[in-house]
Subunit: 325 residues, 2 copies
């Protein structure tokens, strides 16, 4: 029996999920659901596109709906709403509001008898798993998470809102010296500035005041003022040629001692050509686990921390024990 | 309520588990059980030592018995036997015989109503988790596992059995060029010889034929003949001074594509000052998960692949979601 999934929202992430279904032969993609006019949305792979309002008529044909909206405006409303109809998976990544989102999805899921698995991707997601395993097996230690080199969409958007800016791409980059100090087991105390730098490529309108734009970027509170930021002005053509992708990645370290002076270092890293494609691929694996748990009667809300790892795999327990354990 | 554990077998691994209990305040160590005369065994931390034959009288006082015997001769008998009395955890690491061991423990556990979690440590264990997660989130890809730099006890023992050898220490070392090719995403096909080298420090009897011993090591089938092996003869004092520890570690890579040419690289590495102390620390985290699952009614056999990650942590679900997700 294949796991029948739906995609709710067809931006970069939805497209990533769609591609991931081609790599998972035990998963069947039943349709894409969009809030735009369905006839205006063309699936890259020829998947059927339906209006979001039609989703309710698919409850018998979809085992798990993967919600591909954004955390800022979509998911806090959509996930509790859709879990009334389906088992759902989302990639909600506003860390500070996860407890609230969890409570909403948990209540709606328990009432409807469906399971919602929230905040899956790589951070939150794979990185969360590494933090939890690292802390569990080295309880006396220190955590470090670094992001990048990669494109931060939020920071790119913030630059685009500045007057005179036509387009922008912002890369978050871990400071090599900080990575090395952590890797060497020095357990450094690192300020925000010491952990990451920010590199910006900006396209401006003709005649725009570049010095003023650069100053505005570098002094922007929350986004840039606590970082060493480099601003490069480039042409629209250069941006399209050299910065079209959405690469990302990062590092999770856990260092710890098991007795006086006996040290251990755990390092996990991701280097991703495409943030939305990798995130989409994680969501499909989580959807598989969600379908299995729901079939066993699980309902309410869970996160990737609650899913038995074997449930994410297409292989059986026997196969995993024989070949991967 | 603390998780009350017992240690069954007090070699290097048992001592590692004992130390790990000091780092986990929600775990209480109830005693060490040994097949030797208990009065001949002195706990390094003052834990009470009992005869293995007394274990049966502790069924009311121990939630999880951690079996610290060896895979070669102890665990295939001990784990199915002890799971008749206790929930148990072991570090069985003979990969080829895991399915058989699983079946034995599963049957005995289901009959007695106890849960046994087998093959926990770092490989099998943390590395197995990385292989399963890596394959689940990048189903179209390739796996690489490298071990070391670290001491292989089996290979050290094999050298010690050669005539004229007094003592030996064997390090397994990943070939840097192989690591780099994998890390660079080249998906190389690597022979055994191209993946690891073997470095031996050997103490011989006075007048022993060193050339003959070196030849015998390098040509030993299974252990050394497929590798580039370096043999260094050193004194007993040098061995004690420079090679007393049991460091180990390694790397798990998963590379894969989510669409044509869109590549991703996952790398996990461990650098461990002490193999038995780290393994012992993993076993304690797994014992915590085992106690929780057993309390929910789980019985039979499971592996770390079946344990929800959150169950390994001393933190509550709320705490994990607020701080680690």
């Amino acid at each position: 029996m294949k796991t029948r999934i739906g995609i709710y929202g067809y931006g970069n992430l939805g497209k990533g999920v769609e591609k991931a279904t081609l790599k998972n032969s035990d998963v069947e993609l039943m349709g894409i659901f969009t809030r735009r006019a369905p006839e205006s949305v063309k699936s890259e792979l020829g998947t059927k596109v339906y209006a979001a309002s039609e989703a309710a008529s698919f409850t018998d044909r979809i085992d798990v709906m993967i919600l591909c909206g954004g955390s800022a405006t979509d998911l806090m409303g959509q996930t509790p709403e859709l879990v009334k109809l389906f088992n759902v998976v989302d990639s909600f990544d506003t860390h500070a509001r996860i407890p609230e989102h969890f409570a909403d999805v948990d209540q709606a899921g328990k009432e409807s008898g469906h399971l919602g698995v929230i905040s899956c991707g790589w951070d939150p997601g794979m990185f969360s798993l590494m933090r939890v395993y690292g802390n569990a097996v080295l309880p006396d230690g220190q955590d470090y998470t670094f992001w990048g080199k990669g494109v931060s969409q939020g920071h790119s958007d913030a630059i685009r809102r500045i007057e005179g800016v036509l387009d922008a791409r912002q890369y978050t980059i871990p400071v090599p010296a900080a990575l090395e100090a952590v890797r060497a087991g020095k357990n450094p105390t690192l300020s925000t500035r010491e952990k990451h730098t920010r590199l910006c490529y900006v396209v401006v309108k003709e005649g725009a005041d570049k010095a003023k734009i650069e100053k505005e970027i570098k002094e922007m509170p929350n986004y840039f003022s606590d970082y060493d930021t480099t601003v490069n002005f480039i042409t629209k053509e250069e941006l399209a040629r050299d910065h079209a992708g959405l690469p990302h990645g990062g590092f999770v370290f856990r260092s710890g001692e098991t007795s006086d002076g006996t040290k251990h270092m755990i390092e996990y890293s991701l280097k991703l050509d495409s943030n939305p494609e990798f995130t989409g691929s994680v969501l499909v694996a989580v959807a598989r686990a969600t379908a299995r748990l729901a079939q066993e009667g699980a309902k309410g809300c869970k996160t990737i921390l609650d899913l038995p790892p074997a449930y994410l795999s297409a292989l059986s327990g026997e196969e995993l024990r024989a070949h991967m354990l």
